[in-house]
């Protein structure tokens, strides 16, 4: 084995160099190292952190590919160039034209996310003299999937640097962070550049540009880049359908445009990779089967969301809130529909389950997940200006996860104390 031997010799020759972790990161990417056990167990199980992270990335790949096609599809539909996808397997969805838009718009997001993020990781590894850790492999994949397709690349780069440095490295790197780095990046974008992260334009490629062109005096039809949540939030308000004289309400328009099937399969506007509930469920099953993702968190998040949805439905049914209320639109959405509009499922499967920032005890995971689902829907309904609350809910619970764990562990401690007391008495 020429290559292996050469790399090994290179590593041995340069073992005192400061930049060696950078080389090792690439070397260990090619070859699992020749380290053997010392003290402790003489054998080790097959899994390492790279494998764990890789499994999550694989679970995300379908969402990314779908996101590329959907970017193109939404772009053409908004312009009226395509009528309808004819469903998930429809001929006008999986087309080359759609993919080209996706490749053009989404791949740069992936490249910037990985390029910038890994560069920061390498720099920190070399400064601090430890190996490059794998945490960013998943973060780097998640980031392009949770931003609007038209987000300027420089903004993404700034946010990634912020997220990796402040969200992770200052705490000591992978395994030490309190907040989910991918969501820290999204939160930074959300609060630093709100016009690019919310509203009715950013979710479909080209909508913002088109608006600017119209403002500049060009005679073009504006097209909407509104998400379903945007429609529901304003469901009672009147709306003139672009290019026609039809006056309807936002709620009715949403129903005209998107069927439940579209929502489930993901043929709707939204962040790049979070729309297809079908593929997210496939990813979830894969993660649960491989025992990499926590089914407790996924399940309890869904339960939490459903419970909050039911409560809101109850409020509406009891007549405590009228149609004139600005919360009526989203409150009256049937509870189960909350799962297929917005990104609650994506958050539950890929974000809430991050083992570092989630609760670490099994009991704690149930509580943590439930509260994420519960609070997500609460924010979604009560904050119609920015009608999605999943990432805020997860970040909030990231902060409370250690507290939840503390009380769960105290249960075990108390049991021990009780046992002691029973003995003494």
């Amino acid at each position: 084995m020429g290559l292996k031997q050469n790399l090994h010799n290179f590593k041995v020759k340069n073992k005192d160099k400061k930049w060696l972790p950078g080389f090792n990161a690439l070397f260990t990417f090619l070859y699992t190292p020749n380290e053997t056990t010392h003290g402790g167990t003489h054998i080790k199980a097959a899994d390492d952190l790279k494998r764990t992270m890789n499994t999550v990335i694989l679970a995300l790949v379908p969402c990314l590919i779908f996101g590329m096609f959907n970017a193109g599809y939404q772009h053409y539909v908004a312009q009226g160039l395509i009528d309808s996808a004819d469903g998930f397997l429809g001929a006008s969805f999986w087309t080359w034209d759609n993919l080209v838009i996706g490749l053009w718009k989404v791949l740069p997001l992936v490249v910037v996310s990985y390029g910038v993020g890994l560069a920061v990781e390498f720099v920190f590894a070399i400064i601090k003299g430890h190996e490059v850790e794998e945490g960013y492999l998943v973060t780097g994949m998640l980031v392009p999937l949770i931003v609007p397709v038209d987000i300027p690349l420089w903004m993404l780069a700034v946010a990634v640097i912020f997220g990796v440095v402040i969200g992770k490295e200052v705490f000591g790197g992978t395994g030490m962070n309190i907040l989910n780095p991918a969501l820290t990046i999204r939160a930074f974008l959300f609060f630093a550049y709100p016009t690019w992260m919310s509203g009715d334009k950013v979710w479909v490629h080209g909508a913002v540009e088109r608006d600017a062109a119209i403002a500049a005096g060009e005679n073009l039809d504006a097209f909407s880049g509104e998400t379903l949540l945007g429609y529901y939030a304003k469901s009672g308000q009147e709306l003139t359908v672009a290019g026609t004289d039809t006056v309807t309400t936002y709620g009715d328009r949403a129903a005209d445009l998107y069927s439940y099937a579209d929502m489930f399969w993901g043929i709707i506007p939204g962040s790049v990779g979070e729309t297809s509930k079908f593929l997210i469920i496939i990813g979830a099953l894969f993660l649960i089967f491989t025992k990499i993702g926590s089914w407790r968190i996924m399940l309890s998040t869904v339960i939490g969301a459903l419970v909050m949805g039911l409560i809101f439905n109850g409020v509406v049914d009891a007549g405590w809130i009228g149609e004139s209320s600005k919360f009526y639109g989203l409150m009256s959405v049937p509870f189960w529909q909350h799962l297929i509009i917005g990104s609650i499922l994506f958050g539950a499967v890929y974000m809430a389950t991050d083992p570092v920032t989630a609760s670490q005890t099994n009991k704690g995971k149930w509580i943590y997940g439930f509260l994420i689902g519960f609070i997500s829907i609460m924010i979604r309904v009560f904050n119609p200006a920015y009608p999605e609350g999943v990432f805020l809910a997860i970040l909030l619970m990231n902060v409370f996860a250690p507290t939840i764990d503390h009380y769960v562990v105290q249960g075990n401690v108390k049991k021990r104390m009780k046992r002691l007391k029973a003995k003494v008495a």
């Binding site: 003489h42 494998r51 926590s294 083992p355």
Partner: protein, 449 residues
Amino acid sequence: MSKDIRIKKGLDIKLVGEAEKTTENAIVSNFYSIRPEDFHSIIPKLVAKEGTRVKAGETLFYNKDNEAMKFVSPVSGEVTEIQRGPRRRIDAIKITADKEQSFVDHGKFDMSADADKIKEHLLASGCWAFIKQRPYDVIAKADSTPKAIFISGYASAPLAADLDFTLADKKAELQAAVSALAKLTEGNVHISVGSTDSPLANLNDAITHKVSGPHPSGNVGTLINKVDPINKGEIVWTVNAQDLVIIGELLLTGKFNAERIIAFAGSSVKKPRYFKTKIGSEVATMIYDNGVEKDGNDRIISGNVLSGKQIAPDGNLDYYSNVITVIPEGDDYEFFGWNKPIFNKVSTSRAFTFSWLNPKKKYDLNTNTNGEHRAFVVTGSYEEVFPLDIYPMQILKACMYKDLDEMEALGMYEVAPEDFALTEFICVSKQPHQKIIREGLDLMLKEIG
């Protein structure tokens, strides 16, 4: 009286090279070594100098903190070398054995004697070393009285010696030892067995527990946790089943007979089987005469693959082990080892690792770490192989940041390093769990005592 204990959490690691159930007399080694490091936290005071002639059972050194606690020679012969490490620490006491063995005669013990007499006898004869205590997993303090004594008669670790086989004809010795030990505790002697045919089942003066389930069902720590967990201020003693034979023989005949049937196992061994040998015996002749390649790249372990000690070819069987395992070293790189599907290694996940497909398959594992050391990341996996009512990751972290109050609250008094062998085995971050726990226990021993 008997109680069944069935555990579900755990993992049986099935390895190639299980010892066949035939016993041979190992070629008698001329060289024996006693390493004081086997007796954790004991500071030895040497009695036998270089050149001293000793009989089997004669004192080599005693415990600096308790002069009555003797550590004796397993054979008769001449002390040929005292190996010392940094700061004149005694590393090993080497004895060249006589052709004809002679024993110190401690005299047949009167079994009706009281507890103090028994203690005195065990301390003076070197048998006290076999009695360990928890908390701290060290040799028992002679002035303590345990609330109970626990003995595991079921070996569930990978490639462990089958105690039902190695102790088959030793019922009399086992009974004598158990009866004597029973007088030393206010509570009971608890013995776990894998089947009711075990020579350890239904001994007088003891409670037999039938255990089943995956490893660590046979660990004494599991037995303690399920029967009578240790509370703050309490002490329990543990004794290895095979060492009861030596205690028993001493009581019955007055001889300290260091003979022990050990399993010689592992995938690098051509004909794995059982051997009769002695504590401290050099392993070189035994392993090379039995099909381990002389210039092979193998790891020799005194003990099992999870918690044994790595030894050199001229190393020796340690004081508490009844297995010598030889497995291949894994000091080679593996191309794309982190993402390709893996069929030939054990894993508890299913992340393109396929050991779940065939739970009965036996694996030939080497010593590669299969990945690099990282901070703790994955959660929830340790709990699947950890049957004790303790939060494993939390207690490990408490040990790492040395919070004594938290370590105590989380159950540090109940554990020994070997209880964390399985969590260490499956650890994705390749953290040294047993070392972390050992250091935590040492810290507590020093600070709290």
